[in-house]
């Protein structure tokens, strides 16, 4: 029993690390521009699918293909900001939600056109020899996911706390006008925030693709889970989003193993609803009051 639980925990952390990266991307965009980006999951899909397209299709080595895919995702993220979000500035929440949903459907449509409905696999980064931990087993790729996520989260933390650009984005999220007045290039910062968010999403997709496979619509569920994780952690709290992602991954994996795998996704959303009903500011968020 204990070994089984250990196995579920290890799987949960791997899945949770992916959710955490998607949730972190959500939080960054939400902080910078007050937009909930429903196309966050599409960055994950673009990362994984274009890596496969570049490596298997064009014959590039995997690492080079991954770099290309991340650059592509960053371009898409910046274009999303420039051509879809920026023109609708000042629009209502409902409007921006629908714009990003439209963007996600559009990106999915492009992927469907380019790559069809097939499910693709990606080679593991460093072999498929399982590692034994007690009775539980771990693939080297799981370590890649956990390690990669840890490095990225620390990197984002460093970026926002110790670099000028990171602090400038935080300034924009606090007060756009004031940031502009002290000479911060607000529209540039928005581009950086969307690019960073796309980078995180696409890397999450590349790291996890060898384990989960990928297809043109692989981003839908991941995006929604990432959003759930961001809400669990308290919207707009980046480290809370990471914790929310890990928590959601763990709960789902344990629930799938111990209760029922069919209801795995439902349990994630039920927890989300409960958190929204009981503590809408998230588990780690501060309660906020609405200004009238």
């Amino acid at each position: 029993m204990f070994d089984q639980i250990l196995q579920f925990v290890l799987t949960g952390i791997t899945v949770g690390a992916t959710y955490a990266l998607v949730a972190l991307g959500f939080a960054i965009i939400f902080n910078a521009s007050d937009v909930v980006n429903f196309s966050q999951g599409e960055f994950v899909m673009i990362g994984a699918m274009s890596t496969i397209a570049f490596s298997a299709g064009e014959g590039l080595p995997l690492w080079l293909a991954a770099v290309g895919a991340v650059l592509l995702a960053i371009c898409v993220g910046m274009m999303l900001q420039r051509f879809a979000i920026a023109p609708a500035r000042g629009a209502s929440v409902v409007t921006t939600i629908i714009i990003t949903i439209g963007a996600s459907i559009f990106l999915r449509g492009v992927a469907l056109l380019l790559w069809g409905k097939d499910i693709f696999g990606m080679p593991h980064f460093s072999g498929e020899q399982p590692i034994q931990i007690g009775e539980a087993t771990l693939l080297p790729q799981n370590l890649w996911v956990m390690g990669g996520a840890a490095v990225l989260v620390l990197g984002v933390h460093y970026f926002f706390n110790y670099t000028t650009n990171g602090k400038a984005i935080l300034a924009c999220s606090c007060n756009r006008t004031a940031a502009h007045l002290v000479g911060i290039n607000v529209s540039m910062m928005m581009l950086i925030a969307y690019g960073l968010s796309a980078l995180l999403g696409s890397l999450a997709g590349i790291l996890v693709a060898p384990i989960t496979f990928t297809s043109y619509d692989a981003g839908v569920m991941l995006g929604l889970k990432g959003f759930s994780a961001a809400i669990l952690g308290g919207m707009g709290n980046p480290m809370g989003a990471v914790a929310g992602g890990l928590l959601l991954g763990l709960i789902e994996s344990l629930a799938a193993g111990l209760i029922s795998s069919g209801y795995k996704d439902a349990i994630g959303f039920i927890i989300l609803l409960l958190v929204l009903f009981l503590r809408p500011s998230g588990i780690f968020g501060k309660a906020s009051t609405e200004r009238v």
Binding site: S92, V94, G102, S104, I105, A266, P280
Partner: protein, 332 residues
């Protein structure tokens, strides 16, 4: 009753179409689907357009109605009519129980909660296979019969569903022009201000949420009998999004706009059959471009354009002021 003028036009058009084009595929087959979508879009529009409460899980209630009717008639041998009623009661209870906690949320949180609700309902439909048939769906659903008149041809289904649609539209128009309709619009503008005016915002929001869910459930039951087959795919998250798109495309806070959106989005895939692989892409692009460039929707957009040409004055209508066009016309 000048606010019903458009309604009489709609009725005339809907009833004349099958007379002019009997046995036309686009009227009696696609037209029925369009009318069904219009019912759903009009109900969602009450919630989204007028009360300003976004719902990304409307397909869930549509699914509950459809499955209640499908399960009760095929597994328990119920007559279709009480099965519709049972679906309505079940939907009503679920919607009423969830309305209060869900509608306390705003903006992104409300969007996420309704989305989660829709997905949970869909997963339950897939997972309770012994009842619902799981992902394969449930077939052999009997058709409706009205005093011995079996609804068993495309044309008869057209009549039934279009009549229900007209009824729903009439109901929606009357609600919008009543005291509760004004209350809805008031809380769309500002909940605090609405409460200051003495409107019980919680009761109003709960009411409109339950009403929208009930209409969706009725549409679901009709859908089940018309198709004689249901599967969870028809009630997925994507269908919820499609419904939101219909409302948005036609124009939020306009009943005729919702109908227009439903008709366009039902016919578009039929006409785009040549570009089948581009369908998803075009769909996404429409959604995005509409919201960026014409957030008040096609119907209101075209109307204000006509009015501008008519008055020959360059007066721009502000985007989504929440002012319904029906009452605007009624006042004129």
């Amino acid at each position: 009753m000048s606010y019903l003028r458009g309604f009489y036009l709609l009725t005339a058009a809907a009833l004349l179409l099958p007379l002019v084009f009997p046995d036309n595929y686009y009227v009696t087959v696609v037209g029925v689907t369009a009318a069904l979508h219009a019912i759903l879009a009009v109900s969602l529009n009450l919630l989204m357009g007028y009360a300003g409460q976004i719902s990304l899980g409307h397909a869930g209630f549509f699914g509950i109605g459809a499955y209640a009717s499908a399960i009760l008639t095929t597994r328990y041998g119920w007559n279709p009519w009480p099965a519709i009623l049972a679906g309505l009661v079940l939907t009503g209870i679920i919607a009423f129980a969830l309305a209060r906690p869900i509608l306390r949320l705003k903006g992104h949180y409300l969007a996420m909660a309704t989305l989660g609700l829709g997905i949970i309902i869909n997963i339950v439909l897939v997972q309770t296979g012994e009842l619902t048939g799981g992902p394969d769906g449930l077939g052999g659903i009997p058709t409706l019969s009205l005093f011995g008149w079996n609804v068993n041809s495309d044309l008869r289904w057209y009549i039934v569903i279009v009549c229900v649609m007209l009824l729903v539209v009439w109901l929606a128009l009357n609600i919008i022009n009543s005291r509760s309709g004004r209350a809805l619009r008031a809380l769309h503008g500002s909940e605090v201000a609405a409460e200051m005016m003495g409107i019980n915002t919680t009761a109003t929001k709960t009411g409109v949420f339950v009403l929208a869910a009930l209409i969706a459930s009725l549409a679901g039951s009709l859908f089940a009998y018309q198709q004689s087959f249901v599967s969870p795919d028809s009630f997925s998250f994507f269908f919820s999004i499609e419904l939101v798109t219909m409302v948005v495309l036609g124009g939020m806070a306009s009943t005729y706009g919702a109908i227009m959106g439903a008709v366009i989005l039902t016919f578009l895939p039929e006409l785009l059959v040549v570009f089948e692989e581009y369908e998803v892409m075009i769909f996404g692009a429409i959604l995005m471009l509409m919201m960026i460039f014409l957030p008040q929707g096609l119907f209101v957009g075209i109307q204000s354009l006509l009015r501008r040409v008519g008055r020959n004055r360059s007066e721009l209508a502000g985007p989504d002021t929440g002012e319904p066009e029906e009452s605007g016309r009624g006042a004129a």
